[in-house]
Amino acid sequence: MSQPVETTYRECVKQAIREAMIRDQRVFLMGEDVGHYGGCYAVSKGLLAEFGEERIRDTPLSENAFTGIGIGAALGGLRPIVEIMTVNFSFLALDQIINNAATLLHMSGGAFNVPLVIRMATGAGRQLAAQHSHSMEGWYAHIPGLKVLTPATLEDARGMLWTALEDPDPVLIFEHVMLYNRSGTLAADAGPVDIAKAAVRREGSDVSLLTYGGALYKTLEAADKLAEEGIAAEVVDLRVLRPLDTATIVASVARTRRAVVIDEGWRSGGVSAEIAARIMEQAFWELDAPVERVCGLEVPIPYAAHLEQAALPQVEGIVAAARRSLGR
């Protein structure tokens, strides 16, 4: 392991793209404002100058069209990275993503893989209101044929992209908007990571806090608070929403006998519902308490800062749910 360096989540994503561009000439980045503007979250700033217009391609506001172009390029042998500005806009490209990218391997009888990576920003917290703030990764996690990644740490921001590009099938990467500015240290030679397993970010024996993406840090903070009360919370970062690493979830719940699912997405029919159901199916006899959920409120995400915060899972709510599961 080499010297750790100070960096940010944004920088990690950028370096992941750079590394991929350098290592594999077939890789290119395509999306709205990714070139001259440098990306709406400044992820690709400087890449146009480094790699040129052939490989850093600005597109019109036409998600369905440029996602389809990405699929075509992947079928044609390239390794496209399509950036969709925010998950809310990806709905314009649902037809390409679900009807084409996710199904072509099946429809072609196994003849055509679609090695496409789509990156999108997700989540609330920047006062971008109800058309730019939702957490819809759970929807995509519903679709067979897709892989859905939610990097929350610097290591994953840096390492998931390359592994995703290596995957022969379409992979969606959801980057939570509140994570881009997050800073920390990372090994200078940090490289690719697996995109199959959940990770235990903090070990504990009393309750499992299961979460992913932007909610990870609130959950870790809640675990600190719980520790002050003598409650040892285990924090599991799901990392991959499809296919879910059920084994890690079940193993954790079997140790702690209690589960709280924290999901910024909506409760009804969401990721948290799926996890609770799997715990019922596979860990019922391990449970000492009903599964608790802390989710985004079922409203369009509000613009006003205090209302926006009120609509999202917060540390106190996570702590309270963990306490309930312990009967305290």
Partner: protein, 401 residues
């Protein structure tokens, strides 16, 4: 105004420590409400109010120990209480089941003897259930500390450890659970039993009772029920005893200050052993009026509360007779020591197959030895014999119980 006193929860109790107040000034209490928890030699006991009214003041603080008879709280006039909650007063009668109209056809649903539900279902987590099965822990004796009082796996583990610790070395630290000090309880038992043998001229009778009819009936009845709804034969013993006492009231009551006082009802003290070496016989009230399912539920509930704490004061002060059943421990018969100031104790031994003479030929039948220890100051052997015979007869017609 009414005073609430530190109650005497047994002949030998001189003082009690107030562990916890469950009321505060201004609260309305009704007869029978649990108002406080008092720690005694018999463990933590829930104290019930005898009067209704509004709490005017609490006279002692939590943690204080005071002699029996000390005023611990004062109640205001019930009028004040009703004024505070006017809604509750007039609304009492309407919900009561209207008397079945005479014209109504035979099956009046209201009057149907719906079997009392077997108590509220206990919350036990799936993990606790499985662990209890693995460790062989009886969930009835496990205190739940999980969400909403549910029994969770750590409770089962703790119970298993307590049992293990208590079993081999009685000299070790006595097991202490929610104010229950086994050493103190032993002292209380010693005092009561010594007094009994000192004061009460016991006489003893025993008879063997044929249980073929009772066993067959029970097997049939339990066959179609899930395990948690099944009846134990000890419930038949309790009910038969209670019904027999209706005709033999001289065994149901107390002997105090040179005179027998009949019990206000048939409140049967049921001896329950406590792991680690304790014994207590709290009352099930009005046993003669309970159907078997309700009685079973009450017995289960009582055993559970004995083991985890939470007995009520009336359960300790009210027993009018004691029934002790050492059956599963495998002895044939037991001759009890009467718990003063009661005047009788019935003992049921182990149900076992015996060769008996039946219609002039040997037959193998399930039987039980039934014994009576009674106070000779109140009754004589002749009455005692009739009393035992009556119980034996009642057990021959279990469907009538």
């Amino acid at each position: 105004m009414a005073d609430i006193l530190m109650p005497s929860l047994g002949a030998d109790m001189e003082s009690g420590r107030l562990a916890e107040w469950l009321i505060k000034p201004g609260d309305s209490v009704a007869h029978g409400d649990v108002i406080a928890v008092v720690e005694t030699q018999k463990g933590a006991i829930e104290i019930e109010a005898f009067d209704s009214g509004r709490v005017a003041s609490l006279e002692i603080a939590e943690g204080e120990e005071v002699p029996v008879g000390t005023v611990i709280a004062r109640l205001g006039a019930p009028g004040e209480a009703t004024a505070a909650a006017p809604a509750s007063a007039p609304s009492a009668p309407p919900p009561a089941a209207p008397a079945p109209a005479p014209s109504a056809p035979a099956p009046t649903p209201v009057a149907a003897p719906s079997p009392a539900p077997a108590g509220p279902r206990r919350r036990v987590s799936p993990a606790a259930r499985r662990l209890a099965e693995t460790l062989g822990v009886d969930l009835a004796g496990v205190e739940g500390r999980g969400p909403q009082g549910a029994v969770v796996s750590s409770d089962v583990r703790r119970a298993a450890e307590t049992t293990r610790a208590a079993a081999p070395a009685a000299t070790q630290q006595p097991a202490r659970r929610r104010g229950l000090d086994l050493e103190e309880m032993r002292k209380a038992i010693a005092a009561a039993m010594a007094r009994s043998k000192r004061e009460i001229p016991h006489y003893y009778l025993a008879t063997r009772v044929d249980l073929q009819a009772a066993s067959d009936w029970l097997a049939r009845r339990n066959a179609e029920r899930p395990p948690e709804a099944r009846l134990l034969i000890s419930v038949l013993f309790l009910k038969a005893t209670a019904l027999a006492l209706r005709d033999h009231g001289a065994f149901n009551g107390t002997y105090e200050e040179g005179a027998f006082r009949p019990g206000s009802g048939v409140h049967v003290g049921s001896a329950v052993a406590i792991r680690g070496g304790g014994l207590i016989a709290p009352a099930i009230h009005e046993v003669d009026h309970l159907d078997l399912d309700a009685l079973m539920a009450k017995l289960r509930d009582l055993v559970e509360r004995v083991r985890r704490g939470g007995l009520r004061s009336s359960e300790l002060t009210d027993p009018t007779i004691t029934v002790s059943s050492l059956g599963e421990r495998g002895v044939e018969s037991l001759f009890g020591v009467i718990y003063p100031p009661q005047v009788a104790l019935l003992g049921f031994g182990r149900v076992s197959d015996q060769v008996v003479a039946l219609d002039g030929a040997p037959a193998v039948r399930p039987t039980v030895e039934l014994s009576l220890a009674a106070d000779h100051r109140v009754t004589d052997g002749h009455r005692g014999g009739l009393f035992l015979r009556r119980i034996a007869d009642l057990l021959q017609e279990p469907e009538q119980l």
